[in-house]
Amino acid sequence: MSTTVEEIKKTEIKKEKKDELLLDSLEIKGFRCFEHLSIQELGRVNLIVGKNNVGKTAFLEALWLYTSRGNINTLIRLLLSRDELSPYTGQHTSPSISGNDFTIKIENLSSELRNLFFGRRDFGSEGRDLAFIGSKDSYLKISTIQLRNENGSPKMERGPYFDDIWIVLSKGLSLSVSLVENGEETYLEFFSLTNFQNLLRKPLPQMMIQSTFVKSNGLNHTLLARLWDDALRKGLEERAIHFLKTIAEQISYINFVGAEDDSSTRYPIASIQNSMQRVPLKSFGEGLARLLGLSLSFVQCEHGILLIDEIESGLHYSVLPDVWKLIFKTAKDLNVQVFATTHSFDCIEAFAQASIEDKESEGNLIRLENKNGAIKAVTFSENELETVTRRNIEVR
């Protein structure tokens, strides 16, 4: 018998995976609750499910760290978002580090950083590998390294010795972040754990991956407004508005208003079809603001990775099928790989349905579960999702 349409379709999907997906498999070692999590196959759109406390959010955090290439600001934001680090307020008399949305004390950072790694062990005084995140071909490696001052010049205790970095004299342990691609290791960050002086400043924009992390409580106004401006610049704002129409057909356009000199005061207003009315988007309820955040994030991470925590939050179950349909389509159109988490059974059902119906983008369901104290992943491919739906198998 000759090749069936079904077989051709499968081959094409496989081809797409190899050619286009940023991550076709995933290993997380040593990060947060994951001692060693291994997922053989990922889809273009991936839904992560599982009970409380199995690391659904940590899974997204790992990917965020991967896409931001272990950036120190990302490490700090991860700690801040879980209250593992407190913002440094008041008089800044101790050494501190600031980003555009935070200021923290250095002494707090070096002691709290261990929260990000499996077992939360103290870093001690000897260097060791802390975490690996990524696929077999391309992964991020986070380690501590002891720089020893011998004969007046610093020397690395282990790891490749590279002469193109500027090493300042540094006592004690350093944290290094490197990207290993096809066996070749490139150091991205290298800073002393005592003073957080960065010993390595290698701007590597080509190694970055665009990504947005949409938290369960959504995006703040400042970020939303910035994403809107980006969408306008890219001419992709219509796509974002199209998302909103799945919930509220009457919306014809969106804009942002507020004080010109203060972006935090800018908020979205909606134009209503066949009407001169302009209504603040929030007055439609949480759902629309959530969807606007999602759609703008999508546009923002074209050719990148979109991370959505508790995707169902603020959305009524009846709109979930349409939302997933749009996500599958947009993911393909904008070449975005999507990772979302959910608690909701309706959301899983709608996802499975959209995944089966969408012929272009492969959907993958990942259940995280605690097996004898270790977090493991059970995955369901799109074909298996069809079986799950047909047989009514419990996958939550």
Partner: protein, 222 residues
């Protein structure tokens, strides 16, 4: 911790018989019984494919959440050995340990070499004889009613061969005709199997049911 005990059965009749037996043994609501009728209609619209589809979908069934064991109850049909062989081959492929050449007479239970749940197989009626659910149901007839069953059997047998609509080229449902005839002659004529168990026209504590329950209890750690 939630423990899901999943039992896959062929049709709604199987489901009702087992649900009522479990209930009378005090296991109501402990085992999630799922019949395959809706499933098959969606997939291929062919009832006969039930078994092949089940084997094909088994790996996905085993990935269901918090499944501590998966039980399967199916008819042995005409050829018990052939049916078992299909199971055995699939279970070997899935790396189940010590898959026997013949089904265990008291129901088969297999453990996995890695981390798949336990799996149990029961071939109706009793893992030894060819047959179907109805042959098992006939074994539940109380002793004092055996004579009535005998009459029902004779009544069915009295129908000339060419007029037996329940026997076709592909299937022989004589047992079903006999047990329905028996149920037609009860105090409340014509109740379904499940109700018949509740009304004690069929015994939930016959030796055959006890065998089945021993298998169920061991499989599902009850």
């Amino acid at each position: 911790m939630i423990e899901n005990r999943v039992l896959l059965v062929e049709g709604t009749d199987d489901l009702h018989v087992l649900a009522h037996i479990f209930k009378s043994h005090g296991f109501e609501g402990k085992i999630f019984i799922r019949d395959q009728e809706g499933v098959e209609n969606v997939k291929k619209g062919l009832d006969e494919n039930f078994f092949d589809n089940l084997l094909e979908d088994l790996p996905v069934e085993l990935k269901g959440s918090e499944v501590i064991a998966l039980g399967i109850v199916v008819d042995a049909d005409f050829n018990l050995n052939a049916r078992w062989r299909s199971f055995a081959n699939k279970l070997k492929d899935l790396k189940y340990e010590d898959v026997p050449d013949l089904p265990e007479p008291n129901g088969t239970i297999l453990t996995h070499s890695e981390d798949l749940p336990k799996i149990g197989v029961w071939l109706m009626p009793n893992n030894t004889l060819p047959g179907m659910l109805e042959d098992f149901v006939k074994l539940l007839v109380p002793d004092e009613q055996k004579e009535l069953l005998q009459r029902a059997n004779e009544a069915v047998d009295a129908i000339p061969k060419e007029e037996r609509l329940f026997v076709t080229e592909n299937s022989d449902e004589t047992s079903k005709a006999q047990i329905y005839t028996y149920l037609a002659w009860q105090e409340r004529p014509g109740v379904p199997y499940g109700v018949a168990i509740r009304e004690k026209f069929l015994k939930a504590d016959s030796p055959h049911t006890l065998n089945l329950m021993t298998w169920i209890k061991e499989l599902f750690n009850l």
